[in-house]
């Protein structure tokens, strides 16, 4: 490979300029133990790395899936069609965000270790927690950007489908009216018409959908932090992925253990302590499950979103702190 360049590179050393570095600002500056710009550099690097690993090809599958579902013309009721579209879209978003969070994050550190790039980074004046934080934020930016894309497409498709369904339904009523003009005088017929149209809008594009998308992002963020934590002590990528998936699944049932533990069920036996252990170890992913309610047309309170976001920050903070402790003295 590159024979000519190699030969060129073998030109006599005498022709080459010697090493004479200019004075750099960093040489005079004291080293700071925390540098947002360093973290941002690591963040954007992780993001670029994932992007150039062609992870965004996944998004094409997403696009194809929701466009297919949106226009496959099942003879469903309009509400059902819209529900199906939202379920598939939000489900696919959850799935992609989850896959990115687990598979992507699980690969990051082992890959750096295997390629020895970790050495070159940690041999620069980069504290290990900054390296971890950079990886975490890089994944979060990746998930955020991909969800932004999916969300934009999703909203467009739902909006268009809703408009089409409203028009179709209104046309059907108008045709009926043309055939039976006396129905124009019938109040309950008119009410039915309004109700049918309102049902479609109710299942159409609403702000609450954005709350569901945000909840999916928050859940994926916690999953990213969990996976990063696992990968700091795991010895293989496979172990990281399998454990993280297990955490993901158990995390959705964690609230059962917690409720049981806090319910003050009679002492004795091992059930209650076991429930407590599950509640303590695993994160509560069920807290983020508002997709169902949103798809069924339930409104989402702003306070709930704030609480959810706050809990997520807490999870990220604690898990990243734990990960830094594990990683800070790890032998590489």
């Amino acid at each position: 490979m590159n024979d000519d360049q190699e030969t060129q590179a073998a030109a006599p050393a005498e022709n080459r300029t010697g090493y004479s570095g200019p004075a750099l600002a960093t040489e005079s500056k004291a080293h700071s133990m925390f540098s947002p710009s360093r973290i941002w550099a690591l963040t954007m690097h992780t993001f670029t790395q994932m992007v150039r690993m062609r992870v965004f090809y996944f998004l094409l599958f997403f696009s194809a899936a929701i466009i297919l579902v949106a226009f496959m013309f099942l003879r469903f009721t309009p509400e059902q069609e819209l529900k199906l579209l939202k379920d598939v879209s939000l489900g696919a978003m959850s799935l992609f965000a989850g896959i990115f969070a687990i598979a992507g994050t699980a690969l990051l550190i082992p890959k750096d270790l295997e390629d020895r790039t970790l050495y070159t980074i940690l041999c620069k004046p980069v504290p290990r927690f900054e390296y971890l934080l950079g990886k975490l934020l890089g994944m979060l930016v990746l998930i955020f950007v991909s969800m932004l894309f999916m969300d934009a497409l999703f909203c467009t498709v739902v909006g268009v489908r809703e408009k089409i369904l409203v028009k179709e339904t209104a046309d059907a009523y108008d045709q009926e009216l043309a055939k039976f003009p006396e129905r124009g005088q019938n109040e309950s017929w008119k009410e039915q018409r309004e109700e049918a149209l309102a049902a479609i809008t109710n299942y159409g594009l609403r702000w609450d959908l954005q709350a569901a998308v945000w909840a999916i992002f928050l859940k994926a963020s916690v999953m990213t932090a969990v996976t990063l934590l696992v990968s700091t002590f795991a010895t293989t990528t496979l172990f990281t992925i399998i454990s993280s998936i297990a955490v993901f699944i158990i995390g959705h049932g964690q609230h059962l253990g917690r409720s049981y533990f806090l319910s003050g069920a009679p002492e004795g036996g091992f059930e209650r302590p076991l429930a407590g252990v599950i509640a303590i170890i695993f994160p509560d992913f069920h807290l983020y499950d508002i997709v169902d309610a949103v798809v069924s047309g339930e409104a989402v309170a702003t306070t709930l979103l704030l609480q959810m976001s706050g809990m997520t920050c807490l999870y990220l903070l604690i898990y990243t702190a734990a990960a830094s402790f594990v990683f800070s003295n790890k032998e590489l």
Partner: protein, 284 residues
């Protein structure tokens, strides 16, 4: 800053590193045993030894990637387990791969960023270092398409990005062909001229011989010999004379002179070129 002006570039004191082997019986492996060495400012120090002798472990402890079981390392007087000691260090690991998805200039930009260089500094350093390691023609190519020698050179540029005062090179020419190897050697010499301290490990004696001021020989975790290169390799009681266009008669005279002076002639013949030199002549 606790950088003391007269502290040596590297000081390793009684370093011992024991690895635990993950198994039921608590087995251990002694990788480095009570190793002490000092690298002066501006000195080029070669750590030589067979594979698995403890060279890389010593370097990793020096760079804070591993923790010393006992003993300590310092870089310009600063404890090397502290992050700030790495401000002055550039490291080229053995067989580095780097991020294949980045181009050469992106690579240098990234390492410059994490070293806290400003945008203008990164741009200047990138241009200067790519010229230095002779990769200007491949600036915008992704590293995935780089040859081994090119990777090694971008690795060296990366190590130099923040103008470190100490450069640590682990097997810098492993797997590189002789021309690439020679190029790296020239770069090391250029760094030396600038007063940069260098510590390099290798199992190729010939290469170490060409660039190092002092050499330490490490074997099974022990530093078995250490000293100035000429002291280590010169054979005290032998002298080599190289003549050009010598006639057989002249050679006979030399032989006779030597015999008269109770000197033994060990060999007379045409000097052999090194394999490396031969390769270069043939390929140019």
């Amino acid at each position: 800053m606790n950088d003391t002006p007269d502290a040596p570039a590297v000081e390793i004191e009684h370093l011992t590193k024991v690895f635990r082997v993950p198994s039921l019986r608590k087995q251990t492996v002694l990788a480095v045993n009570d190793l002490s060495l000092t690298v002066g400012r501006g000195e080029v120090y070669g750590l030589i030894g067979p594979n698995g002798s403890g060279k890389s472990t010593t370097m990793k402890v020096l760079l804070g990637l591993l923790h010393a079981t006992t003993g300590k390392c310092s870089i310009f007087g600063r404890d090397s387990s502290q992050v700030d000691s790495r401000k002055d260090v550039g490291f080229l690991p053995e067989n580095p791969y780097f991020y294949k998805h980045l181009t050469a200039s992106e690579t240098l930009d990234f390492y410059g960023r994490i070293c806290g260089l400003t945008k203008a500094e990164r741009r200047d350093q990138s241009a200067r270092l790519l010229k230095l390691v002779d990769l200007e023609h491949a600036t915008d190519r992704r590293l995935a398409g780089y040859s081994k020698g090119m990777l090694q050179r971008i690795g060296l540029a990366q190590a130099l990005v923040q103008n470190p005062r100490l450069v640590v090179l682990d097997e810098p020419t492993a797997g590189v062909d002789p021309s690439g190897s020679r190029q790296i050697r020239d770069l090391i010499l250029a760094l030396k001229e600038q007063g940069i301290s260098i510590i390099l490990s290798s199992h190729l004696l010939e290469q170490v011989q060409e660039v190092c001021d002092r050499v330490g020989i490490i074997y099974k975790g022990d530093l078995v010999r250490e000293g100035k290169l000429e002291d280590l390799i010169s054979i005290e009681d032998q002298t080599e004379i190289i003549l050009k266009n010598a006639s057989p008669a002249l050679l006979e005279k030399v032989r006779a002179l030597a015999a008269g002076d109770s000197t033994e002639v060990i060999s007379i013949g045409r000097p052999r070129t090194t394999l490396e030199r031969l390769f270069l002549e043939e390929t140019q």
